[in-house]
């Protein structure tokens, strides 16, 4: 069986006008990107739009691709920029409307087969964007801290601080949510339900 063509080689083909190669890259990455956006927005419709937007950008700016560095890092850098634009737009709409945009989290949630998981998703949703992105890229997308630093245009130390504090804040938010919902706080370490 022949070796699969590398991401970089495919992207170089796209750069040279062989656009079908982008289809292969889409097949390889659309689910990961969708998952990334979903974790940041909690919206399937917006996540699908953002994935489309990322691949439109790649097509539009394909001649800018240099082939330096890791392709996935480059791709998620674009994804992060698109999400930042979306986030900025949402914030602007909030200010314009003088009210928070209601987020249909429950309507659009994955199957709530676990209270703990729902709680974790709600807590993640309330985390500030930088910490949330660092956690999602690290734990869910499996990037190394130095790769996340490239994606987020910051230092590796800053990424570690965001992951560290993000986890701490996540626990605090979850405790608060449990109190609101009248649930007994279960220390994650002693939680035997999982």
């Amino acid at each position: 069986m022949s070796e699969p063509t590398s991401d970089k080689a495919l992207m170089m083909q796209v750069k040279n006008g062989e656009l079908d190669a982008l289809g292969v890259l889409f097949d390889r990455y659309n689910q990961r990107l969708f998952g990334f956006f979903y974790r940041l927005t909690s919206r399937r419709d917006i996540s699908a739009d953002l994935v489309q937007d990322v691949f439109e950008r790649i097509l539009r700016y394909r001649t800018s691709y240099t082939g330096n560095g890791d392709f996935a890092t480059w791709l998620f850098q674009i994804a992060r920029n698109r999400h930042a634009d979306h986030y900025r737009q949402i914030e602007k709409e909030k200010v314009d409307a003088h009210t928070a945009v209601p987020k249909p989290v429950l309507a659009d949630q994955l199957l709530p087969d676990s209270d703990d998981r729902m709680l974790l998703e709600q807590a993640l949703d309330r985390l500030d964007p930088d910490k949330k992105q660092a956690l999602v890229l690290s734990r869910i997308e499996g990037f190394l801290y130095r790769e996340i630093a490239e994606i987020m245009s910051c230092t590796e130390s800053a990424v570690k601080v965001r992951v560290f504090r993000g986890l701490q804040e996540l626990r605090q938010i979850m405790s608060g949510l449990e109190r609101q919902q009248g649930r007994k706080h279960i220390h994650p370490y002693n939680n035997t339900k999982k």
Partner: protein, 307 residues
């Protein structure tokens, strides 16, 4: 008790499983000694694990279809676009001699930028003018050098005992160099933007400028009231890109320049210099709400070229 942030490196490395043997030994030692609270770290570890256990949502098939339609449209449009680009390339006039920056640009400007007609027109006029003034300037400089050279030869023949012929030539060249630098710096103090533009252009003909010239150009880049002069300063500084402070100051200017024209010039400069430190500054710029769409496109384009 929250884990001590002093050990963030070790704890985050432990969570991701990337500690080296030595780091792992140190981590274990600190846990045993109680300096790192093991209960808290294990709580974080559990939280980290739970995050990874969150299910991955499946996109709808419609997303795939939408992508395929977009790709198909692009493929259909591609031959026409290539032909158009070729036509534009064939119709492009020969660049003037003084036109230095564009030959180094790795990419064309995004289409949106071309709509900045008036601004771009001004920039083009400035470049054309620069080409013309460059030729005049070369003639003036050549005349000055010839005059000083002849005077030097005359003095040398009158006083033959004072050093070798080569030393005299070196001395004259050094004086011409100094004169040119001083003239350039004094012109930068002129109230006329055209004179300051001329000063910036002179700096490009100075092969190894002293720090005072670089410093004057940097101040011009940061503080000159004229956008055209600041754009010219960007070009001149790129010309002296091997100087240690130039790249740092160009990067610093990205977030300080209010003019979109200068921002675009800086974007071109960063592509020419392939300066990765600029990426973070452009990222910050993109996070600003108030930015014209063509400039945003250009900055994103640059950012991708720098990664």
């Amino acid at each position: 008790m929250m884990p001590n942030e002093k050990h963030i490196d070790l704890i985050t490395g432990y969570l991701q499983g990337t500690l080296s043997d030595a780091q792992r030994q140190k981590f274990d030692r600190l846990v045993r000694s109680g300096e790192i609270d093991s209960t808290e770290v294990r709580a974080m570890e559990m939280q980290f694990k739970q995050l990874g256990d969150l299910p991955s949502p499946e996109p709808d098939p419609a997303m795939h279809e939408r992508f395929q339609s977009m790709l198909q449209r692009e493929k259909e449009a591609l031959p026409g676009r290539i032909a158009k680009q070729q036509q534009e390339k064939d119709a492009q006039p020969v660049q003037p001699a003084g036109h230095k920056r564009d030959k180094n640009m790795s990419q064309p400007a995004p289409p949106g930028l071309q709509q900045e007609g008036e601004k771009q027109g001004l920039k083009q006029q400035q470049r054309e003018k620069k080409g013309h003034t460059t030729r005049i300037r070369h003639l003036q400089t050549a005349a000055a050098i010839a005059a000083v050279f002849l005077a030097g030869l005359l003095l040398g023949s009158l006083y033959p005992g004072r050093g070798t012929h080569e030393q005299q030539i070196q001395q004259i060249a050094s004086e011409v160099h100094d004169l040119r630098e001083m003239m350039m710096i004094s012109l930068l103090d002129e109230t006329s933007a055209a004179e300051r533009l001329r000063a910036v252009n002179i700096s490009m003909d100075i092969p190894s400028p002293q720090d005072r010239v670089i410093q004057a150009l940097i101040e011009t880049l940061h503080f000159d009231p004229s956008v055209n002069v600041r754009v010219a300063a960007v070009d001149a500084l790129v010309h002296h890109g091997s100087h240690p402070t130039v790249r740092k100051e160009l990067v610093r200017a990205i977030s300080r320049q209010p003019s979109p024209i200068v921002q675009v010039a800086l974007a071109d400069a960063m592509i020419t210099l392939q300066e990765p430190r600029a990426a973070r500054e452009f990222q910050k710029l993109l996070e600003q709400e108030e930015m014209e769409e063509p400039v945003r496109d250009k900055i994103e384009h640059t950012l991708l070229a720098l990664l």
